[in-house]
């Protein structure tokens, strides 16, 4: 189909019948043609029917693009925004959204495909070589630059005037300090807030969201409760933020007492009900993926896994610290209360936390 073709003839403007035709003006502006590169003629270069066919194909692609643009314009007006249609794979979806997206996408895609098809089939495709410039400057330019630099150092006298040189170096060395000092303004350093939560002695444990006090008999074995201290809403209103909610969230879980391998303090459970912080010690995600049969608690963020039957120790994943346990008991009315606050900071590690 293709015949070998001498590249040097390509740019000969006098050979009028030679395809591709390049005008004299263009030919002189083109970089050197690639010497020694075999150039093959395309079918569209030799067969005028093929060229015509390619031309029609490109025009058809552009025409189809115009069609889709018109579809976009019409559907913007004609399809009501609320109209829903059921499409396989997508389900029920907004009809206008779908048509607008598809028509816009095809309108721009077909212009691109048409342009590439045009370039590949019909535009000139001769190989050209563009020589890369050398990076090193010419010798005289280099000498000139070095000379200018030398003149500059001599005229400023930085070599002789030691006092200026040293004070300048000192000034430059000190200048970055404000940027370091300004880091202090990232916020007032947290004082005790990272170590303390709202939990304290005799505070009732209430269910999250519904804020009901809990009796131990309300929690059967295998039950999970997301809980809060009873005063959480007051604190939230007072502080006007959710920080305390983020720190004080706990999980209550009941297991058979004989299943508890260890706890963080003697009898910190109440008849097999244990309370642990809901905040992962890795980076502080709320964590409640409790598997009642293994007593494993899985963090959805980075798959840290804690064993609630064994002091909340991490058994897998990036978390290095155990989940802090809250010691619980019941008050005289039989409602679950905290025996004391958390004995260690909840949530992720921080700079001043200590071991």
């Amino acid at each position: 189909m293709t015949e070998k073709f001498d590249i040097n003839n390509t740019f000969d403007p006098d050979k009028e019948n030679q395809a591709p035709k390049i005008s004299k003006e263009v030919a002189t502006k083109l970089p050197t043609a690639a010497k020694g590169v075999d150039h093959y003629l395309r079918r569209t270069d030799t067969d005028s029917k093929a060229a015509r066919r390619a031309e029609l194909q490109v025009a058809a692609l552009f025409g189809a693009s115009s069609f889709f643009t018109l579809v976009f314009l019409v559907s913007f007006v004609a399809i009501p925004r609320e109209k829903k249609i059921a499409v396989s794979l997508i389900g029920v979806t907004g009809a206008q959204n779908l048509v607008l997206g598809v028509s816009f996408g095809f309108a721009i895609l077909l212009i691109g495909i048409g342009a590439i098809h045009w370039a590949k089939k019909l535009m000139s495709d001769v190989e050209i070589v563009q020589e890369r410039k050398e990076i090193k400057p010419a010798d005289d330019v280099q000498q000139e630059a070095l000379a200018a630099f030398r003149v500059g150092t001599e005229e400023s006298g930085i070599g002789q005037r030691k006092l200026i040189r040293r004070s300048l170096l000192g000034a430059l060395a000190l200048f970055p300090l404000p940027f370091v000092v300004m880091l202090r303004d990232l916020g007032p350093a947290p004082k005790g807030e990272l170590r303390k939560t709202a939990w304290e002695e005799d505070l009732h444990i209430v269910t999250d969201i519904t804020y009901q006090k809990i009796r131990p008999e309300d929690i059967p074995v295998g039950n999970l409760v997301s809980a809060m201290p009873e005063n959480i809403m007051e604190i939230q209103e007072e502080e006007q933020n959710l920080n305390e909610r983020g720190k004080s969230a706990i999980l209550l879980v009941r297991m058979r007492p004989e299943e508890i391998k260890s706890q963080q303090g003697p009898d910190w459970d109440y008849q097999g009900i244990v309370a642990y912080s809901k905040i992962c010690t890795h980076v502080g995600c709320p964590i409640a993926l409790y598997e009642q049969r293994t007593h494993h608690l899985l963090c959805p963020c980075h798959q840290s896994t804690f064993d609630l039957s064994d002091s909340g120790q991490p058994i897998f994943g990036p978390a290095a610290r155990r989940l802090p346990q809250l010691a619980i008991t019941v008050d005289e009315e039989g409602y679950l209360i905290a025996r004391q606050g958390f004995q260690e900071p909840v949530g992720p590690s921080f700079w001043e936390r200590g071991a």
């Binding site: 959204n97 295998g222 993926l289 598997e291």
Partner: protein, 250 residues
């Protein structure tokens, strides 16, 4: 004997509650006792190999004493029991028993020991009057950690997973909350009241029928599938175009 009467009582509460769901074949069965008898026969045939003739459990299956009718109805009506093969996770499949047979099995197994009864129709249908907003709040606090914010389910440890809630009926959702199937913890009626449960069911119903106005939901699992599609389909088609642009034309 007392235990038996207690269990029978629970079953009859459950049974009268959902008699609308019962097929005509089951409706013909007169008393609970014949229901238990029928369940006993089905149990001996389909369940006793793993759970023991009296539901005492074997090395292949746990004891069924005290699991209650609700657990049986959940496991059997979702097709999880009888299970196809042991593994990390028992999967939902086409149920092997019809509703009448499932109720008979539940009635029989409930006689092994007291456990949660099948919630009544009124209890389950309460979701239609429940608060959607409260349901959303409760769902995100108690359920979304495992079942995903859109109820699509998610991975647990060692091959276990929380299933999607897309196929779960209101009754099955209710039963799952009170019985805690597989890895799922129990959410007792005291710590998550029937009103709260109804609100959660309402929210799940709403999630399940929600549409995809923006296009494909890609499983509603968030950035994981969206990223995958972008990298594979998006970048893949760009590479195909790049190859086409660079290809030599003959």
């Amino acid at each position: 004997m007392l235990v038996l009467f207690f269990a029978l009582g629970l079953v009859s509460i459950g049974f009268t509650g959902i008699n609308k769901l019962v097929t005509p074949a089951a409706a013909k069965i007169g008393s609970e006792e014949t229901l238990v008898d029928k369940g006993s026969a089905l149990f001996a045939e389909g369940c006793s190999t793993c759970h023991g003739l009296n539901g005492q459990g074997t090395s292949d299956g746990p004891t069924l004493a005290g699991v209650g009718a609700a657990a049986v109805h959940f496991q059997v009506s979702t097709g999880r029991m009888p299970m196809a093969a042991p593994g990390a996770q028992v999967m939902r499949k086409k149920p092997s028993y019809n509703e009448a047979e499932t109720l008979a099995l539940a009635a029989h197994i409930a006689t092994f020991g007291p456990g949660p009864a099948i919630p009544s129709e009124e209890q389950v249908n309460e979701w239609q009057n429940a608060s959607l907003a409260e349901g959303g709040e409760l769902f995100r606090t108690n359920c979304a950690q495992c079942h995903n914010f859109a109820g699509s389910g998610g991975a647990l440890t060692n091959g276990k997973y929380a299933p999607s809630l897309g196929q779960a009926t209101p009754l099955q959702i209710y039963e799952a909350m009170i019985t805690g199937p597989q890895s799922m913890p129990i959410f007792s009626d005291k710590t998550l009241t029937p009103e709260s449960k109804a609100a959660i069911i309402r929210y799940i119903q709403e999630l399940n029928k929600s549409e995809n106005p923006g296009g494909m939901d890609l499983g509603r699992v968030g950035p994981v599938t969206e990223g995958l599609v972008l990298w594979v389909v998006g970048l893949g088609s760009l590479i195909i175009f790049a190859v086409w642009i660079g290809a030599r034309v003959r």
